[in-house]
Amino acid sequence: MNAIWTTIIIVCFVAITVTNPNTLLSLCVESGTQAVNYTLQLVAIYALWQGVFCVAERCNLVEKLAKILKKLNTFLYGNISTAAQNYISLNMASNIVGVGNAATPSAIEAIKLMENDTTLSRGGAMLFVINACGLQLVPTTVIGMRASFSSQNPSAILLPTIVCTVATLVLGVFLVNVAYPKK
């Protein structure tokens, strides 16, 4: 990340300084403001979902969910703690019902529990790749956008999208298995 980010920033900053030096600082401040606004939105979204999840936890529903997903989780992530399994199960469930934003806080918690070292372990890599391949099966945002652009058939893309998602997911899981073998 360091190499990519630094290279892009240096190249772009040089290009902006040559063509339009006055805009550089305002661009930085603008990005900061954007990030602040987005963070505020995230506080609200995470608050809702962490609140809901905490209620689910106190009814022992998360444990039950983790039990159902236990086989799958052991296959994917190897031996991980029960607490991490609970968070991962929440992450999977949120992704499947299509609330990607709810998936993030549980993933952060799960990764916090799995990673104690400076080198990424199999569990963290697997959870990241599964989420970064777009586990969300039904593309609600895209279908909504197509409808608002008065498409003849907004959900025409549903089947190819699901095929694509599943294909990349399988490929991702396979590649993680190769790159981070089970211990």
Partner: protein, 168 residues
């Protein structure tokens, strides 16, 4: 159909918790409290990512990159407009939504390019954003192959999307 799913799940959960004599209010507030530290920890990573995306756009470097790499991608069946989406997608969700809107306006939502862009948008993820956010609270410095794997999968997804859309 889908729009009922999440609301109903939340209602069922609260009813179930009440039946089980769990204090819903306390639980909800207790969970919600944790959102502030989580979001604040994510903030610097968001800032860095937004800065990079905005700098790419403002400097015109993004168009330059697209121009250079579009010929080889055209060979594997990816149109130039779609390539732009494929490139921005790993960095920014809002940025890629803007490109998607652009594609719909320029080519029409039901065109081949419109369909391709839709499928790519629906089946891919903001890889760099996810990696920044997910590892924001760990000591992990060396991610190994995780990010390249995710990027490669999204690229394969993009190529597959363009192939599949020929049959829609």
């Amino acid at each position: 159909m889908m729009s009922y799913l999440v609301p109903i799940l939340i209602i069922l959960l609260f009813v179930y918790a009440s039946v089980k004599r769990v204090n819903v209010y306390d639980g909800f507030v207790g969970g919600a409290k944790q959102s502030v530290p989580t979001a604040v920890a994510v903030f610097p990573y968001l800032f860095a990512t937004f800065l990079m995306v905005n700098a790419l756009k403002a400097s015109g470097v993004d168009r330059f990159i697209v121009d250079i790499i579009s010929p080889p991608f055209a060979l594997i069946g990816i149109p130039k407009e779609v390539l732009k989406l494929l490139l921005i997608r790993p960095f920014s969700g809002s940025g890629s939504l803007a490109i998607l809107t652009d594609v719909y306006q320029t080519y029409g939502v039901d065109s081949y390019i419109g369909n391709c862009a839709s499928v790519i948008m629906g089946s891919s993820e903001t890889v760099f954003y996810v990696s920044a956010v997910y590892f924001s609270q760990t000591k992990v410095k060396r991610l190994g192959w995780a990010v390249p794997i995710a990027l490669f999968c999204n690229l394969v997804g993009g190529v597959l999307a363009c192939i599949l859309c020929r049959f829609v």
